[in-house]
Symmetry: D2
Subunit: 430 residues, 4 copies
């Protein structure tokens, strides 16, 4: 188990060392993939690994080298458009649903692009890294680029998982796998008094714009479940007809269930061996003790309703996450699958699976969108999405923090997303 | 100008008197419409007036008569399905997009259904209205049915407006019209200190379930605009390319603009006479002094961003609405179009146009969904919708209140929805 | 039973008398319908009866009055666009899927439009009907307009049937109904030698442009079934899994079955009473002796394949239809439902149900599209449609003729379309 | 220029030699492609080259080895489903739109599959190739498999062209290119008397089932253009507003133009250099003397109408193709782009570009669908498609013949499809 304390450990790294370490991790993640695996796009929401490799390099080239490098010349003229994700202020963008059409340039050339950008960034840091004034902007953008790369590292895993699952061979990405140890930790409820508390990031260390400013909110007393909902518990919901009764579902969620004829989580299937779950290690019997994952907001909300609880708000979650707690599985463990809760007390808040909150993704009071293209990073997505907290088994450990706000539309299922339940306090009891 | 104080005046009415008055108002609203006008459905979101007439009667028949009437027999067996909107717990529902297929029963027969239900409700109230115990439930359901009818009264107007606008003749519903008086009130900013405040309905008078419980929230200091954004102001946004520059828009909003090739509000059109606006009184020159209406959340948000402001949260709005303020146009004025702001000070909070807030429609802390079919009234819609406040020129005055939460998806444009701007407090100034 | 000989009888009518008679028949057909029934559009392919009433009058106004009437002024300026179906050369067109939005003008006003056009045409014929030269064009256009009106008379019936079936009350258009007399005529096979034969219309009497020129085709010897396929026979196909086995279907037809989850003809349904069929007289037990109708080309082709036969070509059909044969039910019988075959010998070629041929709708050799807007009448639809022959129980008897080419896309089911089987000659036997 | 006489030359080959030669040609065609190029599917109509490589081997394995090989065992269990295109009688099929998801097995493994099948077929032919009785079926299926492989060879080229064009780099498949020699041959008209003629294949040599039986048809006198329509001529249509005026288009074609906002052929684009055309050799200036290609039936028909001509029927084309004529470019020339007409007289009938006919794809009189899965090869597609004749620059020369019937839906543009005009005979002149 890797502690988020790694963030502190890691803080002895120089910016350049951190850049190199994080960039290398991307190579590690894509090493098991063939050029074919890296090229194909399985749905508009997912991107090919090759595109992720190019785009993360484009980010450093466009936002750092173009501004700070003497005699800047782009590695390839067409890449400005090809690897621009959604930054209107940068210019045209290759259409998102056609990212899988890019059989050229070949993967090898995109890897060359990465090496080129890595060298130029290293040179830049070496030559100008301690110019005053310049340093502040440059290092802030470098930190942003590194965190951006880490987000795409997680997406590389979720996107390749989605692709491999569409293959009738159900191929594995790797051999590792997690296994629960019996018996499952019982679910306990942790009480919080609430009141006026502060959430959000004060910005001393790096954070995304959407995490700030730190601000006060009022919380009524509440309780949080000690761990994530397990496959055993979610299977009970399935077996008791959870996907067949509209009374557990938000109206739009029920329409979604019916339109897509859904009866279980995305990576589950039932064959002659019983319930199976597809993981990055291939198809395996559903392990009842592991957290239930790849759930949409609709499914998380329906499960909570069925079980007589509710999803937490993001403020409730963040307030609780300030307490000491044990961490779950992070990407560095190389399982890329959540582990079972192993300790009493509030566990799995960090790692294992992103936790849906009932909070719509919205600007914090006083939120200011940065000027220029960078302002498009987060702010313009603040509608019709829901906040997830805590990080997952595909998140780098030093990328997770208590104030981190992940967000996806309510129907998204291809992320490592699970359920932590919450409850109102009743009769003053905890 | 009608004060919401009408709610208090009206409180001298008996429940039966109020029932009769509100039911009659529905007849008044549909009187100018032909059987053809009442039958057609212009889009899946809108319903034919005939269906509204049937459904509101079905509501009383199903939730009151079926439970309280001795020897209950339904007026028509098929109506249980035909006029059920979305209550799974009641049973099957006629598909929403096919409400316009119901050329039979004829309008006259649905009016007969209304009269029948009216008489049976009146008889029930007369005979059993003061049985103890029974009374509480019955009168609560009666109040719910009356408020439900009032919601559909507003929808009758918005839906018929949508239909008539699709007609190349651009026919008028009636002759009345509002006109602004020059000059427009200047926009002023009203400051609020914030802190821990309470919002939500304590439930002493009738309220919908989604308005309760009353609860505490923390508000940072903020400012609210004194009046709604006008057509003149919104036209400036249009003219300066507001619909052509993605930087003002939420990402999903920009996709919506492009996919639908939008360049102005829904009921505006430009012809050889200049900018025209379609109203229930037909097509008229766009009146610069009147509030801009029929705006989606996306448009309201883009306008706010363009103007350097933001939309208020629903808590900010409700806190402000506790102050004394002048009201705008309500349905009883029979203009069915907003009027210009006429007074200095915070105005138009109630009436004229629903005001988009930046708050996603979500359960209040401690919200409990009622048992049974009635529990489906509001709770299951709490996802991917945004809260609007204050009521409009199509809202009955005694239906508006400070705690009222209206809600629509971000792309909805056919409601009487406008913009009140908000701002954070800067440098401690007000 | 009405003989197509009525065409000859009718030939003693003056053009004006024929005009008046056919126009009146439209009124007869729409008399049982309410204004609501006449206003609604049940699908984009179907049009409201009110629109049919307006469009057929528009046809006479636009193509005759506008050209021949002194001091022509349109009845209503907006009608030129509102009632234009698909004539680009005339100008703009109200969008087809929005024909059901036209609650204004009211039905009464469209009827007034009809009367106005009727009077002006009568006046024109009286005053100028025997001017030389003018007469040829005028009378040709009058005949075209009359035949056009008759086509819409059939569509009024098929479109209202489609609408009423969408109503959960399954209301009837009228009380009449047909009933088969036991026993069903056995199906016999009639042999034809083929060779070089002529088909197509020589144009001595009125015909549509697509029926000409008369031209030679070579036919191999073939056989035609003596009567239409019955409900009993088609039900056997249903029961033996015809809708569940792709081997009977064209590939595109099978995709259509799967995508729409089809298991039987459009107006059939199975309830606790057994198989029922919706007709213009309402829902009735499926009558095994009556012809199977409302079949798509895909269904007709699949049935033929299942039964070891095939559909005829239009040339085979037309060559056979030159023989004397008994007629089936036409519109004048006011059943608007086919009758059972009543005679030995080749029967039902005319009336009862349109018969799908395997012939794609294409121009005859030497086909010339007329100049101007009238040229858009037929020619531009000659792609991806299939020819039907013979007329139906909703066709006016004097509108049917051996050379008549009706045409619909392969998935169309709302017409009175049935199956006559054909076979190649084997071993010289007949 | 390669003569179709190659078919005769080739006839000295043994079946095994022909099998080996044709299989090798597939390898030659895919040699310039990377594993990434071979994996991606650019649209549902197109397939990845890797899938084509697998499917053509599957065809031999399923229809020959499974039946004739002693101790048959499939190369890989999953391939029976993965590489089944549309044969219901064989069993399940991997969904067509997901052929591009198959990043596994890797290209190298599919090439191994090909080698394995090649060896087993060779062994089978060696060991049992002259068993009596068996031979007839085996050699017939072998010929079918070889012709099937040749069809997919053409698709490999058209599908990879479609994919590469979607790439913003507009990469080339190879370096070769064709160039017209000035001046363009003038277009002349060749007259044919018509009468009762025979078309279709008598079946002495291999043909597809849809080409038989040979049968008589009657043809009116007609004229055929001496060569294909050129880019210069088609550009004139574009410049004179051909894509902006509905009067040239079939109604469904015009809807298609508007819905897709089309203004020129698929692989044309206009940039600062003028009109450019994408070819398998990359983007090059539009060569006015080369045939206009990649046209849909709608475009071919509209051009013909605009020019006062029409498309030929397939019978007219086949009757003319019995005359001696010079051939155009075939696949063996390795240009994969048509060449200019180089000779007076009827030219380009074979090779260069498939020629749209106005004939809907339909069964010939007396057509019998073979029993079993092989019967699904052609017959079930005989609806809503149009016949093309003659072969193209991507067709192997020994695959073209006068009776060959290619077919595609009216909107298909990604094939090498061009226009040969036809005309009716006027006034007895030729």
């Amino acid at each position: 188990m890797i502690e988020p304390a790694i963030a502190q450990c890691a803080s002895t790294e120089s910016p350049g060392e951190r850049f190199a370490r994080v960039r290398n991790w991307t190579d590690t993640l894509t090493a098991p993939l063939s050029a074919e695996d890296c090229c194909v796009q399985s749905m508009p929401d997912a991107s090919p690994a090759k595109w992720h490799l190019g785009h993360t390099s484009w980010f450093f080239e466009t936002f750092i080298l173009e501004r700070f490098e003497d005699g800047f010349r782009p590695f390839h003229d067409a890449f400005r458009v090809m690897f621009n994700s959604y930054y209107h202020a940068v210019g045209d963008r290759h259409p998102r649903p056609q990212r899988g059409m890019l059989t050229r340039p070949p993967l090898s050339f995109v890897r060359e692009y990465r090496r080129n950008v890595d060298e130029r960034i290293a040179r830049l840091l070496a030559s100008r890294g301690d110019e005053k004034g310049l340093q502040e902007d440059l290092l802030a953008l470098l930190a942003l680029g590194i965190n951006h790369e880490q987000q795409h590292q997680e997406l590389i895993l979720t996107d390749i998982k989605h692709l491999l699952f569409m293959n009738p061979l159900k191929p594995a990405y790797h051999d590792a796998f997690s296994q629960s140890e019996q018996p499952t930790m019982p679910m306990a409820w942790h009480a919080f008094d609430g009141g006026v508390v502060s959430i959000g990031n004060s910005g001393r260390d790096f954070c995304f714009d959407n995490e700030s400013p730190r601000h006060r909110v009022y919380l009524a007393p509440y309780r949080l479940a000690s761990r994530l909902v397990t496959n055993r518990e979610f299977l009970e919901f399935v077996r008791q007809g959870g996907y067949r009764d509209p009374k557990f579902w938000l109206s739009e969620g029920w329409d979604w269930v019916c339109a897509n004829d859904l009866a279980h989580p995305h990576y589950w299937l039932e064959d002659e061996r019983g319930w199976m779950e597809f993981s990055l290690a291939g198809l395996r019997p559903l392990d009842p003790g592991l957290p239930a994952i790849h759930l949409s907001y609709f499914e998380a909300d329906a499960y909570a309703r069925w079980s007589g609880a509710r999803l937490p708000t993001e403020a409730e979650w963040e307030h609780a996450a300030a307490m000491p707690s044990s961490c779950g599985e992070f990407a560095e463990g190389k399982l890329f699958h959540p582990a079972a809760a192993k300790q009493h007390g509030l566990s799995q808040l960090f790692g294992d699976a992103w936790e849906w909150t009932q909070s719509a993704y919205a600007p914090y009071p006083g939120f200011r969108q940065p000027e220029g293209a960078i302002g498009e990073y987060n702010g313009k997505f603040m509608v019709n999405q829901y906040v997830l907290r805590g990080g997952s088994c595909a998140t780098p450990a030093d990328h997770a923090r208590a104030t981190y706000r992940n967000f996806f539309p309510a129907a998204a299922r291809w992320q490592f997303s699970g359920i932590r339940l919450a409850r109102d306090m009743e009769n003053g009891t905890a």
